[in-house]
């Protein structure tokens, strides 16, 4: 504390000690700081994004005895019917899940944006429920609902939920919020002039829907389709729990790497998994660039007309979806309290005594809290500072472009591929960083990188809203740039910073895919414990731990809402003027 007080008078004394030799001495020091920071960020992203991905690619060219075999692993992969069949399986469940999810999400987003229905904000919040849970949870709930002793097994009409049906049901739940988010954005930007013109030309509501609404949202639709498709292909929690004997690529990676320690083949399937993700990434990027062009300065915001029956229909539909979403959580919450499903339905807390199911016991929950807290704190600091450097530094354009690209890459890398890449890169004996292996730090780093892009974009958007004049003014007042950053930029961007922190925290709590290859016995996270308990047939224990994750995510969200409101009153008054 005394240190900061001592530092206070310095800026004033600086000009005295440094006479005006060069025209802008302070800015030189500042720009050196900013440029150095940008360079460090570029190095960080290279080491933790680019090089591991290079390592997994190289590993796919080597066999079990570390001999270079070229594309032989890929040939083996395609030549093994059990493995290549997984491609077809993955594609078909992904296609079906995508169609169902996007249709359901479109109707939901349409109800929220284009009707006069009540409770829109509430429905928007409820649609986010699946994000609070690890993807294993919907699968566990589905076992209790539609398994052979499930509550609603008769609905299945003799079909088994273990297999494609279960996977699709689980994935629709898991992907729904992502599709809704994208489509709400796509549908909320509309030009009322188009609708007026169409109406005056005599086009009915259907015609207007097909010729204005749908084409207007087409890039959002494309983006949603690709995002959902990628999420399904790369998700591993749901098929692991409910896939039965229906093998998909994501579970094959797990089986090859964990079950048979065949890392070369794991790397090959990882590379295959990267393909749809890359495609989705490019499509999304193209789509988003065009979406901007749809609105011009002359556009008139579209206000949905009131329609009694339409609004009632929308409300009914949204209520139904909300009930399903809450119900899925409710099933696991209930099942985690049942003594011995399905023969003894008396309630107990015994399933929360995790030590009987898993040696790590409550320790893995504590690990997850530590992982989430570290990821949130370190991640927010790195991501926000990084975005600031890219937005504000005068570094070489080429360097800035490299950083911008590297910040976007993690979005296209499935968690399992990232986790596997980290094994290959950080467990290599020649790597000076291999001390990270088996530590909590590598879990934090992998999670931070896995979710880097969304945080980066959030921060960049917030920074773009701030006038760069702040920096110019402080430069001319000879205030060092780090002080402006700490005193002006960070306080003004606090809501965005908080958003990034919460996003990282919740995702670190729920993610399984990247960390499943990287944990060690004393850093096992709760979501991995859920997986292990389900594997051992302790479904109730798995449900209980999954619910602990959900309760924590909800608590953090509620805290965030409260804190956000408080901050809004404290530091965001400038936005109102």
């Amino acid at each position: 504390m005394s240190a900061t007080a001592a530092a206070m008078p310095k800026p004033q004394s600086k000009p005295k000690t440094k006479p005006a030799r060069s025209p802008r001495p302070v800015e030189t020091a500042d720009s050196r700081l900013l440029n150095g920071g940008t360079l460090i960020l570029a190095l960080f992203l290279t080491v933790f994004v680019l090089l591991p991905l290079g390592a997994i690619f190289l590993r796919s060219l080597y066999d079990r005895n570390d001999t270079f075999v070229g594309l032989a692993n890929f040939a083996t992969f395609l030549g093994t019917p059990a493995l290549s069949a997984s491609i077809g399986n993955s594609l078909s469940v992904a296609l079906v899940s995508t169609v169902i999810t996007v249709i359901l999400a479109f109707l939901f987003a349409f109800s929220i944006t284009r009707t006069g229905m009540a409770g829109k904000g509430w429905f928007k919040a409820v649609a986010q429920i699946p994000i609070l849970a690890p993807s294993l949870l919907p699968a566990i709930s589905l076992v209790y609902l539609f398994g052979n002793k499930g509550m609603l097994r008769d609905v299945m009409m003799g079909h088994s939920v273990y297999g494609p049906i279960g996977i699709v049901l689980g994935e629709v739940f898991y992907c729904f919020p992502h599709a809704v988010m994208i489509l709400v954005v796509a549908l909320s930007t509309a030009d009322a002039r188009l609708y007026e013109a169409a109406e005056s030309l005599g086009a009915g509501p259907w015609r207007r829907f097909w010729t204005i609404t749908l084409p207007g949202a087409r890039y959002g639709l494309i983006s949603a389709i690709f995002v959902v498709f990628t999420l399904v292909v790369t998700d591993f929690g749901i098929p692991k729990v409910i896939g039965g004997n229906y093998n998909v690529l994501a579970t094959d990676v797990y089986k090859q790497v964990i079950g048979q320690q065949n890392f070369g083949m794991g790397a090959v399937i990882g590379m295959v998994l990267l393909l749809p993700a890359l495609l989705a990434f490019v499509a999304d990027w193209l789509g988003q660039r065009r979406q901007m062009a749809l609105l011009s300065a002359r556009s008139v915001p579209y206000v949905p007309p009131k329609s009694v029956w339409g609004d009632r229909l929308a409300l009914g539909y949204c209520l139904l979806i909300a009930a399903l979403l809450v119900g899925m959580l409710g099933v696991s919450a209930y099942a985690s309290l049942v003594k011995f499903w399905p023969y003894n339905l008396s309630l107990t807390l015994a399933n929360y005594d995790f030590e009987q199911f898993d040696p790590a016991g409550w320790g893995s929950y504590a690990n997850s809290l530590r992982l989430a807290a570290w990821t949130a704190v370190a991640g927010t600091a790195v991501i926000f500072t990084g975005a600031y450097l890219v937005e504000r530094s005068a570094a070489l354009p080429a360097l800035k472009l490299t950083v911008r690209l590297l910040a976007i890459v993690p979005l296209a890398v499935p968690g399992m591929v990232l986790g596997l890449a980290y094994i290959f890169f950080f467990n290599a004996p020649w790597n000076p960083l291999n001390g990270l292996y088996n530590t909590l730090a590598i879990l934090v780093l992998s999670t931070l990188v896995h979710f880097y892009t969304v945080g980066h974009l959030t921060a960049a958007t917030a920074l773009k809203q701030l006038d760069p004049e702040f920096e110019s003014v402080s430069a001319s007042l000879k205030v060092p740039v780090w002080k402006t950053f700490g005193r002006v930029t960070v306080p003004l961007c606090l809501p965005a910073i908080l958003d990034i922190g919460i996003y990282l925290f919740v995702n670190a709590m729920t993610t399984v895919s990247a960390v499943v290859f990287l944990y060690s016995p004393d850093t096992k996270p709760a979501a991995v414990a859920v997986l292990h308990m389900d594997d051992a047939g302790e479904t109730a224990g798995a449900a209980a731990m999954a619910m602990m994750i959900v309760y924590t995510s909800i608590a953090v969200r509620v805290l965030h809402a409260g804190l956000g409101a408080w901050l809004g009153r404290r530091s965001q008054r400038w936005r109102a003027r």
């Binding site: 069949a85 399986n89 011995f340 009987q356 898993d358 040696p359």
Partner: protein, 342 residues
């Protein structure tokens, strides 16, 4: 300032001291295991109580996974001791010279079949576990399923879609069942039996205890699993019978071994010693009735009777170990590829 510095120095010295003393006091043994999770805690606590200064850190997974992990880490072993892994798996590791020969104190009390034949042995057995049929009586009554008494019974068409068994590639229980069938029926008849069983099998699970837990929960009527899991589930109130097939059942030993190259050899030997004591066997018998040191106590309630008599007489671990890779490759080719099965 001076006082603050002095304070800081004291705190620093103190924390350094505690760190140093902690490092001296405790050896942490990394122990790989495929024991059931409920066994881990009592075993660890009992050992640590008798050996202050040594802490066990478990790495637990299914037998196949632990075996594969140990093989994959051959160049740079991470485990100090393996405590509770199938003897046939340890033989695979022994064939790669990955185990440290050591004769624990009290080896004389161990039954001759429960140790590596070499002197000194590379592994010493703990107990035997076997393939049992967990049969859900409530679901059976609903579906009119007869109670199976033999392996042959499970081929009956009424069990179609009602059988669950562990995948032998990952589960030791799955492997001992398969190895048992191949040994008692012969190679051709054994595979023909599994072809038939595959027609009735709904799911192959990753873990060996899961089929019994699924049968206990009524998900499926028949689970080929571990006899001990059956007894535990029944004690928890599951409506199941635990059946040992009349033809005799495949079985396997859990055993202890020291990993060659361990940096904690003394502590590892302490664990190997302790694992062969009567006291340790008194713990084992609370889970498995047939132990390495005989007559150490009573089996847990609902444990199947005459287990020792039902265990296959001619169970050749060496054969199982030598043929493990070939058996698993054949099994995977025949049954794992049928992924489209509804």
């Amino acid at each position: 300032m001076n006082i603050r510095n002095a304070l800081l120095a004291t705190v620093g010295a103190l924390s350094a001291l505690t760190l140093v003393s902690a490092a001296h006091a405790a050896t942490t043994l990394t122990v790989y295991t495929a024991l059931e999770t409920e066994q881990l805690d009592p075993y660890k606590k009992a050992f640590e109580a008798d050996n202050p200064g040594i802490t066990i850190q478990w790495v637990r997974d299914s037998t196949g996974v632990v075996t594969a992990k140990l093989l994959a880490e051959k160049a740079n072993p991470k485990a100090d001791v393996v405590w509770g892994l199938a003897a046939s798996s340890l033989m695979v590791l022994d064939a790669q010279s990955m185990l440290e020969p050591y004769a624990p104190k009290g080896l004389d009390a161990v039954k001759p079949t429960f140790r590596d034949a070499k002197t000194p042995p590379t592994w010493v057995g703990m107990d035997a576990w076997m393939a049992a049929i967990c049969f859900n009586t409530v679901e059976a009554a609903k579906k009119n399923l007869p109670k199976p008494a033999s392996w042959a019974d499970l081929l009956k068409p009424e069990y179609k879609g009602q059988v669950v068994m562990p995948n032998p590639a990952s589960s030791g229980t799955g492997f001992l069942a398969v190895s048992g069938w191949l040994q008692q029926m012969g190679k051709d008849a054994g595979w023909a039996y599994m072809d038939g069983l595959d027609k009735n099998t709904a799911v192959y699970t990753h873990s060996g205890s899961k089929p019994c837990k699924m049968a206990a929960a009524g998900e499926y009527a028949v689970g080929i699993s571990i006899e001990y899991t059956g007894a535990v589930q029944k004690n928890k109130g599951a409506p199941i019978d635990v059946i040992l097939a009349s033809e005799g059942v495949g079985w396997e030993e859990e055993a202890t071994a020291i990993v060659k190259g361990t940096k904690n050899l003394d502590a590892a030997k302490a664990l190997a010693d302790w694992a062969a004591t009567k006291k340790a066997n008194e713990l084992y018998v609370q889970f498995y009735a047939v132990t390495a040191v005989p007559n150490v106590g009573k089996a847990l309630p609902n444990y199947p009777e005459n287990a020792e008599a039902k265990m296959l007489k001619t169970n050749d671990f060496a054969w199982a170990a030598a043929n493990r890779d070939a058996i698993l490759a054949e099994w995977t080719k025949r049954y794992d590829a049928k992924s489209e099965k509804k």
